[in-house]
Every structure is written in C-alpha cells, then in structure tokens.
C-alpha cells in the first residue's frame, strides 16, 4: 500500500493497492481516499465500495444492557455471561485470523459450538470434498490455463463483482500477461444458469460466451446431466431440460478437447441439496475428464473470511466449523452445530461480525454478546455490544482468498479507534482469567 502524503492529516490521502477482504475474491488493487476518519472509495466494486466507505464520525462506545461503558467493563460483563453459560453458540465469525484465534480461545475456555454466517455453501461443498475429495485449482492457474470455463448457476458477478476480470483477464499484449498458456488467448465461457448481467457481459467481452439458460432450481439437474453425458451415460428423458439438452450434448466434445477446463459454482446461492449435487457433478466431470486431459473445480465462496475460519478450525481443532469444543473435547456434528440448530439448545449467543453490519439471529434463550460492526442494527439490544473495527479498514489482519491457498495481509486505512476482534476477545479472555 502506498500513500501520496502521510503528513497531511486533514487532506485526502489516496491509498492504492488496498486489499479487500469482503467477498473472498481477494482483489488487491482497490483505491480509496482517506481524510481523518472518513474513507471514500475511488476504485472498488459496488459491494467493496459500500463496505469500505466510512463517515468522519467518532465510533460508538461499547454498551452493556444498552448503557454506554468502557471496553474493560463490557468485556467483564461478557465474561460473567460466558462463565454462567453451559451451552454457548458462537455465530457470525466474520473476523480476521487473529480475531478468530482469540474467539476460538474463548470457546476452548468456556465451552461453545461455533459456525460462520456464510457456511451453508461451504458445507454443501464439503459433502463432496470431505467425503470423496476433488481436483481443484487456484486463481492464477485459471487466469493462465483455463481455456473453457463452465459456470453453474446465477451470474456470479452478483456475488463477486470482479470475478471475471480476476479469473479471465483478456490478453494485454505483454509477455507476462495472463493468459500465458491459452492458445489464441481467447477462452470459451459457458454459463449454465441465469442470464448474465450487462457488467458480466462487458467483463467477458474478449471471450467466446455461450449462455445456456436454466432456471436456478434446475441447475443441479443440468449439472448432473452434463456429467452423465461426459461419462458416456445415457441421460433419461428429462422434460425439465427440454430445450437445453442439445446445448449440453454440444458441450461434451469441447470439454474433452479442452486443455484445462474449469468448473465454477457459488454454492451459497443454491439450495443446500442443489449445491451439493452441483459440487458432486462438477467434481465428477473433472474425474472423467482427467483421464485424458486436465480439468479442475473452482468453487466460488469465501465471504467474510469463512475460508480462514474453516482453515483455522481445521488446524486448531482438527475439524471444520460446526464443531463444539470445551471441557477437553471437541465434537464435530455439522447438523447439530449449524447456527440455526445450535441456537435451539443454546443458552448464550456470541456473535462476531467485523466485516459488515450483520445482526445476530433472533435469540431469546439467553444473553447475547455481539462483537460487531459499529453500524449493526439490532432487533434486540444485545446484553453486551462491543463495536469492533474492520480488518483492512481499522486494523491489520489476515484473511484467506476463496481458493483456500492464498492468505492475504489486510492493512489499516485509518487510525484505529475501535478495538479489533482480537483485542475485544483478548479483553474477554482477560476477564475470564482474572475470575479463574
């Protein structure tokens, strides 16, 4: 990150090469103007612009029972609630890795189950990845090798604004410019799902695009049919697929002839069952193709560092999210510890959301502790609210990109006045240690 003039506090500072931790795509070429506390996005997708923008206002104070107080007091109150809990559920988990590490420490100390806000798509994909595995690829490989991209589902730019610019840059002429290994440098892109937005079409202007329109609730069926066709299996008469079967059949030979085809889908916008079916079909297609050529899946997802939360849970506990820890044990039960289910038995909710104002789920069974974005609008005033800063706006922080390989450093854009999730969690741990 660079600044044009660090010394002028009240004038706009232009900050370039800002790393974005919001959608999981990991764009790192954003640009903002910073003036005092205010941040004005200059170069960013719509979602990043919305989430980076900050007014020049002092941050709110922590609250206990709706009353403003200090961080130490709020942390002590959180500690009291946690000590009294026998079945805590931690939700949201929108935090950088250091923040997650401390939140996991609290879970270890007090006992809690944990889940991330955006884990639905991840767990649908794990139905395939955890049980049978797959062959996957990463951003730079797609950029440089992918000659045929198959997209299942709605236009991915609706969730990941610059996904096509990142994954499929058109050749710029330079010897270093992606794609380095695509013959003719023009790729084929096949959309099996919703219609592309105008922005998506513009981003794909240099490519050969085929849209096979399929309603969202039929995408899984189409994905299964394509894999069956690739495997040489007969596809039973499927009235739902009327009209598109010829287009799927026509895709078989190009896929077999492609040097490096890549299958993408956003499990988070499909029903859990459909998402799992698409993951299975995409991975199955790659299995068939890999016998004679190369192919890979590239699942889209990764909002608010869910990929980091998944990774950290694995290295720390040996299990993915939706695990309950404490009392010297860990128990992974995805159905039981998904937030919605866990809250039916929980007696305390601790909610973490540093990247965006994401309110906790409705919860009436016990106290609510929120380590949350200052703009969060609560339906019920939490028992403890500690407004936290955003990694990449207020604090340093590490987040994973959606391909789960690249971990990115987020740097602060302004002076931190809010505690980070790590600092807030550390204050809670401190109060727990003192009480012990």
């Amino acid at each position: 990150m660079t600044s044009d003039d660090e010394s002028r506090d009240d004038a706009d500072r232009i900050v370039t090469d800002v790393v974005c931790g919001f959608c999981g795509l990991g764009c790192d070429d954003l640009e903002v103007a910073v003036s005092g506390r205010a941040i004005r996005p200059i170069k960013a997708c719509a979602e990043a612009a919305r989430l980076l923008a900050r007014p020049d206002q002092p941050p709110p104070a922590p609250r206990v029972g709706g009353q403003e107080t200090t961080l130490a007091e709020a942390a002590a109150a959180a500690g009291r609630h946690l000590r009294g809990s026998r079945a805590a559920a931690f939700s949201g988990l929108g935090a950088d890795l250091d923040g997650l590490r401390r939140v996991f420490d609290i879970a270890m100390t007090c006992g809690a189950s944990f889940d991330h806000e955006a884990s639905g798509g991840l767990f649908a994909n794990l139905e395939r990845l955890g049980r049978r595995g797959w062959i996957a690829t990463t951003v730079a490989e797609v950029r440089n090798r992918c000659d045929l991209l198959v997209v299942f589902g709605p236009d991915p730019t609706l969730s990941f604004g610059h996904v096509f610019e990142r994954l499929l840059p058109s050749a710029a002429g330079d010897a270093d410019a992606a794609p380095l290994f695509v013959a003719g440098r023009r790729r084929r892109v096949v959309i099996i799902g919703g219609a592309l937005s105008e922005a998506a079409r513009r981003a794909l202007a240099g490519q050969e695009v085929v849209e096979i329109p399929v309603p969202t609730d039929q995408v899984a069926l189409a994905a299964q049919a394509l894999t069956a066709l690739l495997a040489g299996r007969a596809v039973a008469d499927l009235p739902e697929l009327d009209g598109i079967a010829p287009a799927l059949v026509a895709l078989v030979e190009p896929l077999k002839a492609a040097a490096y085809s890549v299958f993408v889908w956003n499990a988070g916008v499909l029903s859990t069952r459909d998402a799992a079916t698409v993951a299975e079909a995409a991975a199955g297609a790659v299995d068939v193709l890999s016998v004679t050529t190369r192919a890979a899946v590239f699942p889209l997802g990764g909002r608010d560092n869910i990929t980091g939360a998944h990774q950290a849970a694995l290295w720390r506990f040996g299990y993915p999210l939706r695990t309950s820890v404490g009392g010297g044990t860990a128990r992974h039960a995805p159905d039981r510890y998904a937030t919605a289910t866990a809250l039916k038995d929980a007696d305390l909710l601790l909610h973490v959301s540093a990247f965006r104002p994401g309110a906790p789920a409705d919860f009436e069974r016990g106290p609510v502790i929120a380590l949350a974005h200052p703009d969060t609008v609560f339906t019920r005033e939490p028992d403890v609210f500690i407004p936290v800063g955003t990694p990449g706006v207020d604090h340093f922080g590490h987040v994973f990109r959606m391909d789960s390989v690249v971990c990115l450093p987020l740097a602060p854009l302004r002076n931190a006045e809010l505690p980070s999730v790590a600092a807030a969690a550390e204050a809670i741990l401190d109060s727990l240690r003192r009480a012990a």
């Binding site: 990150m1 090469d17 990991g26 790192d28 890795l97 250091d98 590490r101 996991f104 270890m108 794990l126 990845l129 955890g130 049980r131 049978r132 595995g133 797959w134 062959i135 996957a136 990463t138 951003v139 730079a140 490989e141 950029r143 440089n144 090798r145 990142r166 840059p169 710029a172 330079d174 270093d176 410019a177 992606a178 380095l180 290994f181 040097a259 490096y260 890999s290 050529t293 190369r294 890979a296 990774q311 694995l314 290295w315 720390r316 506990f317 040996g318 299990y319 820890v325 404490g326 010297g328 044990t329 860990a330 992974h332 590490h398 789960s404 390989v405 690249v406 971990c407 990115l408 450093p409």
Partner: protein, 551 residues
C-alpha cells in the same frame, strides 16, 4: 540463576562427546561452559540413570500448510480415534495422529524429546498460511523449505536463457518473500508438466512447453543455493516417486549432481527395482552403495510404518497416479498458483501386503546399509510413510536386531524372501541415534546453536532414562527442556512455550523486484507486495530467526 544437569551420560557427537559423564550448565536459556564450580544458586537436575541429548530435530515432516489441512479434512475418522486429552498438561485443543492439529503436533513431538521440526514443502502462494500454522505449534522451533522447480517464472527464465545470476536473484527474492530457510524441489518439472497433461517425466526427458529436463532444473537450482550460500543443499524429492524401477532414476540423479551437494529426501520411495515375479524389488543395496561412495549426498529415509496414514505431497503427478489405491477411498488434488500443486491421498500400509512389507524392509535396509550417520536423517516423511509418533518404534527397530527380526517374521512371506534385512547385523548405537536425530540435521540446516550441547547452544536438552527397551526409552523422556525451561516431565507436557521460525534472507538485485512486480501483476493477479511476507507477520511480530548464509 543457572541450572546444572548433573550425573547423566552425555551424548553430544557434534562436540565429540560420546557417553561422557559431564555436567550441562544452563543460563538464560543457553548452555554455558561447565568448567566452573557449581554455584550456590544453581538449580540442580539430577540426571543419574539418564542419557542426556540435545533436543531432537526433524528436518522433514509435513506439519503445516494447505495440504496438511486437506489431510485433516480427509482424516476425520483418525481425528476422532485419537482425541484429546493426550497426556500431561491438557491444552485441550486438538488430536489426530496422521494429520494432528497444531497443538497436538507440538505436544507430541515435545513428548518424545523433539524441539525443532521443519515443514519441507511450503508452496510460495501458501507460505503465509504455513507460517500461521507453524506459529501456532507450541514447544517447537520450525522452518519451511520453499518448493521451487515447477514454478512458471523460474522455468521460463531457464528456458529463455536468462542466466544463473538472474536465477540466483529470483531464488533469493523468493526465500525472503516466503520466509523460508531452504529450497526443496519436488519432481523437478514434473508437477508443471502435469498441468500441461504430462503424465510422467524422467530425469533426462524434455518437459512440455518449456522444453526443459528435470536434470537441467535441478542443476540450475543446485548452483543457485550453493552460490547464495544457503546452508542446506537442494532438498530433492526426485522424479518417479513410487514407480517400480525408479532406482535407476535415483542412481542417475546421484550421478547428475555435477559435484554440488544434494539431499535426497524420502529416498525409500525412490529405491524400487523391478525384479521378481511381482516386478517390485528392493534397490536399497545399490542406492546405499552410491550414497556411501558419494560424500556430497545426504538422505532421509521416509521409513514406512504399518497402519493408517495420509500422504500429502506437492507431487500431484505422482499422487494422481496413486489415487486409485487411496484407503479410505477419497483424495484431493490441487494445482497451485503457477507455483506447484498438491495431492493428498490416505493410505493404509499393511504388513500383509507384499508391496508395503517390502517398502518397510527397503527403508530399514537403507538406514542400515548407509554407513555414515552424518548423512542420514531419521524421518518417516510424516505422515507419508507414517506418523512421526512412530519414531520411538523406528528407533528400536534400528537399535535392536532381535526386535527387528521378530517384526520381520510377521510381514508378508514373499516380501521377506526379497529383502536382505535378516542378514544385516548392524544395530544403531546411542551415538548414532544422537547424530541422525540431532547433530546431523542441525549441521545440514546451518543451525549453529541447535543439535548440540556445547557452550552457546540453545538449552534444548533431553534426559532419557536408560533402559533396554529403546522404544519405551525414546517415547517418554524424563525431562525435556526448551530454551532452558522444562516443558515435558516423565513424558507428559507440563508447559507450552513459543518456538521460533528459521529463515534465510540472501540479498537479491533490486531489479528482480521490478521484474516480479510485473509478473505478479499481470500473470499471477496478485500484487508482489502482498505476496511478500513481512518479518512482523512471523510469530505475532517476533520475526524470523535468521540463519546465516555463506556464499
């Protein structure tokens, strides 16, 4: 305040001390000269009945990073079978045996008397992740070996004839950017070839796109680390891993080193012949002869141990070849960021399988036939040959001929007929164990204050109660000191300490910054400044411990 360990039998081969009764004196986390009289303030540790060694160093163990986490994901049954608590002080987070959690990794190594472990396959794009995991491992110093030799930037430089100096600058830049301490090559050119749908690549075969042979890639990087003065030579996972007949490739590789030192890792997987009815035989004798005759070659064995494990490798070309024999039936492959790849395949090595039984015997033959212990490092290539927790058992197999013979009796009959193991009478001595698990790995990695007990060394000291059952002896030390503090007592973890991370920072020409800025911008799609890992990102701001380079 000093600590005096007295009355033990000291084995410190790096300082020529073998089975000598002598005091080890510790002050401020380091060992100091023991000549002076014991002071009134000395804390005395009575080591009578004990063998005193430096802390163990594992130079090849897959403990951190993306492929290990994929292993954890696939090995959920193993995780459930080896739950918390695991003895001693309960930090309570984690378990697993084949792909243990970070805390379980630190605690279980520590329980065996190890104080340092090196992740030998850090992919540049995943280096930050690997470092975050390493920082979360208690009681161990760590370091990573950067995987090069399949990265498109390097291959293009070699193919376009950019010259050795440019390669050296690139290697130096990458080592610093990824905070690693050595260079590993995995299947030189082969991982890259697989991305172009190449399915095999032998030492002198020309790979796709760049038209380079593995030999050329190997020699170029050997020259680079030598000229940069990186202490550890190229750490090579050679061509044709696991392929019957690969002994020929391995012998050719030993002959291809142009006089540069070379470390051949998990050489057991590269020592297979094609003799016999089953077209699978031991090449250990030929390999050992070649290693004995070439003093610039060092090896680690990658011993296989029977039981469930998971194999995790950057060598997707080989792992794709092997995925059909995954047990349980699941596996993950991944091409990674113009850097390398990974393949994670669960395996269950069975003594009733001819191939597995012979692999076991080949590993032991290599350990026993290579004469110079300073050029052998004890590994199972955790978890690829077996989990590191099997080291005490492996040590007993090496030190106890009757024990080894009893195990040989139990393996697949035909495999027994194909190994010379029964004829080998060698038993490792305690001195040799101290070399292969301490002194030799420290020396090859350039760690001047590790792996020995002389003045100035970090006070990583282990007291093992002398007993005839070497497995029991090495499984549960009486005391383990990390930086002078007791972390394990009677085989149980009693304290958790932060370790350090080793790195080398050889200088590079600033012009390389510019070249890589453009490469990262245009090809990779990530800013080079965000790829580079700052010192402050290592271990919560502690920064790396730099290992000296000597060009």
């Amino acid at each position: 305040m000093t600590t005096r360990i007295t009355g033990g039998r000291v084995f410190d081969p790096a300082n020529g001390v073998v089975d000598a009764p002598r005091d080890i004196v510790i002050s401020d986390g380091r060992i100091i000269a023991a000549d002076g009289p014991s002071g009134a303030n000395d804390e005395i540790i009575d080591a009578s009945g004990c063998v005193v060694l430096a802390g163990g160093i594992d130079l090849h163990t897959h403990i951190a990073g993306g492929k290990v986490n994929l292993g954890r994901l696939l090995m959920n049954d193993d995780r459930a079978r080896f739950p918390e608590p695991f003895g001693g002080m309960m930090c309570g987070c984690g378990g697993g045996r084949a792909a243990p959690t970070t805390h379980a990794t630190g605690c279980r190594y520590s329980q065996m008397g190890y104080t340092a472990a090196f992740e030998p396959a850090v992919v540049g794009a995943n280096a930050r992740h690997a470092h975050l995991e390493m920082g979360d491992i208690p009681n161990l110093d760590t370091g990573g070996f950067l995987v090069l030799g399949n990265d498109d930037f390097l291959l293009r430089m070699i193919a376009e004839g950019d010259g050795q100096q440019a390669v050296n600058d690139y290697v130096a830049w990458m080592l610093k950017a990824t905070q690693c301490c050595a260079i590993k090559i995995v299947n030189p050119g082969g991982i890259n070839a697989f991305k172009f749908n190449g399915r095999a690549l032998d030492l002198d075969e020309t790979g796709p796109h760049y038209g380079l042979t593995p030999r050329r890639i190997l020699n170029t990087l050997q020259r680079a680390v030598t000229e940069l003065g990186v202490p550890h030579p190229i750490h090579l996972h050679g061509c044709n891993l696991g392929v019957p007949g690969n002994v020929k490739t391995t012998l050719a590789t030993i002959g291809a080193t142009e006089g540069f030192p070379l470390h051949l890792t998990h050489i057991q997987f590269h020592s297979y012949g094609t003799e016999g009815d089953r077209r699978f035989s031991s090449g250990a004798v030929e390999i050992a002869e070649a290693v004995n005759a070439n003093p610039h070659i060092s090896i680690d064995v990658g011993q296989i141990m029977f039981g469930q494990t998971v194999t995790a490798s950057a060598d997707l070309m080989s792992q794709y070849r092997n995925h059909g024999i995954a047990d349980p039936k699941k596996w993950i492959g991944m091409d990674i960021e113009m850097d390398a790849a990974c393949g994670v395949v669960p395996f269950n090595y069975r003594d009733t399988s001819f191939v597995n039984a012979l692999q076991w015997a080949i590993g032991l033959e290599l350990f026993l036939l290579v004469e110079d212990p300073w050029r052998v490092y004890l590994t199972t290539d955790h978890p690829n040959g077996g989990p590191f927790t099997s080291y005490p058992h492996l040590i007993r197999l090496l030190m106890d001929k009757p024990f080894r013979d009893a195990h040989l009796e139990r393996i697949h009959k035909a495999a027994r007929a194909h190994t010379r193991l029964a004829e080998i009478s060698r038993e490792y001595t305690l001195e040799e164990i101290a070399v292969v698990t301490r002194a030799a790995p420290a020396r090859t990695l350039g760690l001047k204050d590790r792996g020995h007990l002389g003045p100035g060394a970090r006070a990583d000291v282990v007291l093992y109660v002398e007993q005839p059952d070497r497995e029991a002896m090495f499984a549960a030390p009486r005391l383990v000191l990390k930086d002078g503090d007791i972390v394990v007592r009677d085989g149980e973890v009693v304290a958790l300490k932060k370790g350090r991370t080793f790195a080398v920072h050889p200088p590079s020409d600033p012009l390389m910054d510019k070249r890589l800025e453009r490469w990262f911008d245009e090809a990779v799609g990530l800013k080079s400044s965000h790829f580079q890992i700052a010192d402050g990102e290592i271990r919560d701001g502690e920064g790396p411990e730099l290992v000296e380079t000597q060009p």
